[in-house]
């Protein structure tokens, strides 16, 4: 186990900057998720930590040692790839013991470690099979087995669940999390799926365009996003945004006046973006009118697409909404959960 520190890490391909100076500290045993849209540089950053990509500038430290110029094999890391990267011509046992074999482990030691990892991951009956004889979930487990068998300082996961179906993804998510709780190895996990990030991380790093947008605990990011990008990226369905102006009476958006907490009136006559999560609307006869566009009953909740003034918004209600599209409901935003962002730049105002 080890801490990982990135100091002003940059990556360029020719004149094109991909990573623009990232600073990140990961403490010993922490589970950090790098999340962001496609092309934001999260996989590149992970590969730079692994040593599979060169570093244009800055320092990567693992366990206090600068590893910028070290080969992947000398960094004491293990990586799980998106497509598992199991060696097709080797059995599960050979795949798992391969790295130990090349680091001079004795046969008995390798067999013992492979058995230990196989027992943890429920792979013992599959050790003599080839990757082609395994299901997607089993392959995923073997890839994890290959990573843990060596007891590395850091685990790196590069979108490991994206090739699995939705149901298996949920199962494997739980397995990875419980594996981390058992082994307590420092883990860096890349995903574009914010649900994975929220459910697994001790700390989330939201990346966009090669820059860190926000670093924090999952609920901190959810409750107090630093900017409009993070607010929109974290949470599903995503946060509603209404453009408008802060006035002494409330927030004036096209065709509607929305209530604001009194503390926010100080920003009066400022152009801003009003952000509210779908679950922070309540059905209230004294609320603002909203025209129903679409009702999607999910069983435990009802998702309603509605028109607030001239802006489409989504509301999620615990109550069952039986109204049809075209009808009007009255909704009240929860004043304790309103997010205001600057109209220019999207930084948080409140």
């Amino acid at each position: 186990m080890a801490e990982v520190t990135l100091s002003n890490v940059r990556k360029s391909y020719g004149a094109v900057d991909i990573i623009h100076g990232i600073d990140l500290g990961i403490t010993d045993g922490e589970f950090v998720v790098l999340v962001g849209p496609s092309g934001c540089g999260k996989s590149t950053l992970l590969r730079m930590v692994a040593g599979l990509e060169t570093i244009t500038g800055g320092d990567v430290k693992i366990g206090g040692r600068v590893v910028n110029d070290l080969d992947p094999k000398d960094r004491d890391i293990a990586m799980v790839f998106q497509n598992y990267a199991l060696y097709p011509h080797m059995t599960v046992a050979t795949n798992m013991g391969f790295s130990l074999e090349h680091r001079g482990g004795s046969k008995a030691e390798i067999a013992e470690r492979v058995k230990w990892a196989a027992d943890i991951l429920g792979l013992a009956p599959l050790l003599d099979r080839y990757p082609r004889q395994l299901s997607g979930g089993q392959r995923q487990r073997v890839a994890m087995g290959r990573a843990i068998v060596r007891d590395p300082k850091v685990f790196l996961f590069d979108e490991p669940l994206s090739n699995l179906d939705a149901k298996l993804r949920v199962v494997m998510r739980g397995e990875i999390k419980s594996l981390h709780q058992r082994l307590k190895t420092t883990t860096i996990y890349v995903t574009h799926d914010q649900v994975e990030a929220m459910t697994m991380a001790d700390k989330i790093v939201v990346l966009n365009g090669g820059r860190v947008e926000q670093i924090g605990a999952p609920l901190d990011l959810y409750d107090r996003p630093a900017n409009q990008f993070v607010a929109g990226f974290i949470g599903s369905p995503s946060m509603n945004f209404l453009n408008g102006t802060i006035t002494p009476e409330g927030f004036s958006a096209p065709g509607i006046l929305l209530p604001l907490p009194e503390a926010e009136h100080g920003h009066k006559d400022r152009k801003a973006v009003y952000g509210i999560r779908p679950e922070h609307f309540f059905l209230d006869e004294n609320g603002v009118p909203a025209e129903i566009i679409l009702v999607e009953p999910m069983g435990s909740e009802t998702q309603v697409t509605m028109k607030l003034g001239e802006t489409l918004a989504t509301g999620v209600f615990r109550e069952r909404v039986s109204l049809s599209p075209g009808a009007t409901i009255r909704v009240r935003p929860d004043l304790g959960n309103i997010h205001l962002f600057a109209a220019d730049g999207g930084q948080r105002l409140n």
Partner: protein
């Protein structure tokens, strides 16, 4: 799932295949049957598809008139060395072109490929001069070195490169994380996975070397150094006319190992070409 063909369509397809087989099967059939006919029956009219009389002495004469066993050995060991050499050179070169980034890699590969466009008849005279100066004429070295570093190897390199390009990069990255250096990645990961491509390289290289004709007649002059294709032309009578039945018996013996190798390895050969995106 494959769709079942209707019986009528099956009959039609099999009929078509039988017709298409004629140009491939008939010469072989003619060669084998004529090798056991007396020479007068070979040109009998109407032609005899099945020999009316059998003359098995043709096969013993093959060995009496020429040092055929020695020539067989020459062809066999030259083809084996060329095959092994080409597999080593083409797999390493193909891997380098596919995976190692070095300056002008693509340009160099194009230049190498240009070698395929030059007919061997064009280069044979300069090659002869080179080997003459090196004292290697009337030895087997030209027949071993020219294919390993010449056009056949270029084609093999191309096949191997195409295969290695298609191999997922993540496998090699996983191996790097697992502690392997470049050469070990090649030997432990890339090469074992390239078995189908290597098999097809082995088969066509072996065939090419086994059937080589121009180079032996240019570089070799003594009968005990001859290879089989060259030896076949030596079965002539006192007036220089071919002794057809003996020549065809020798040809049958020459074709036999190739047929056996191909029948055994045809599955891998087809798989290999399929992997490389080439069509047979």
């Amino acid at each position: 799932m494959k769709a079942e063909l209707s019986p009528r369509r099956q009959v039609f397809l099999y009929g078509l295949l039988c017709v298409l087989l004629i140009p491939f099967v008939f010469p072989t059939w003619w060669m084998v049957t004529s090798s056991v006919k007396p020479i007068s029956d070979i040109f009998a009219f109407p032609p005899q598809l099945v020999p009316a009389r059998y003359d098995w002495t043709t096969y013993s004469k093959v060995f009496e008139l020429q040092p055929f066993v020695k020539q067989y050995w020459n062809s066999a060991y030259i083809a084996a060395l060329v095959t092994i050499g080409t597999m080593v050179v083409s797999s390493m070169a193909g891997y380098a072109f596919a995976r190692i980034r070095f300056p002008f890699a693509n340009t160099i590969f194009m230049v190498v490929l240009l070698g395929l466009l030059i007919p061997s008849e064009v280069t044979i005279v300069p090659l002869f001069q080179m080997f003459l100066k090196a004292g290697m004429v009337n030895t087997h070295w030209p027949l071993i070195l020219v294919p390993i570093f010449g056009a056949p190897s270029v084609f093999a390199t191309f096949v191997m490169r195409q295969f290695f390009i298609a191999l997922p990069v993540e496998l090699e990255e996983a191996a790097r994380v697992d502690g392997l250096g470049r050469f070990k990645i090649f030997r432990k990961i890339a090469l074992p996975l390239a078995r189908p491509a290597l098999a097809s390289v082995a088969i066509f290289t072996f065939l090419h070397s086994w059937n080589l004709y121009l180079e032996p007649i240019v570089f070799l002059s003594s009968a005990d150094k001859f290879t089989l294709p060259q030896a076949l032309t030596q079965y002539t009578d006192a007036y220089g006319g071919p002794m057809w039945n003996i020549q065809l018996a020798a040809a049958t013996l020459t074709a036999l190992p190739v047929l056996i190798v191909f029948i055994i390895a045809q599955k891998q050969f087809v798989e290999g070409l399929a992997h490389t995106g080439l069509k047979g």
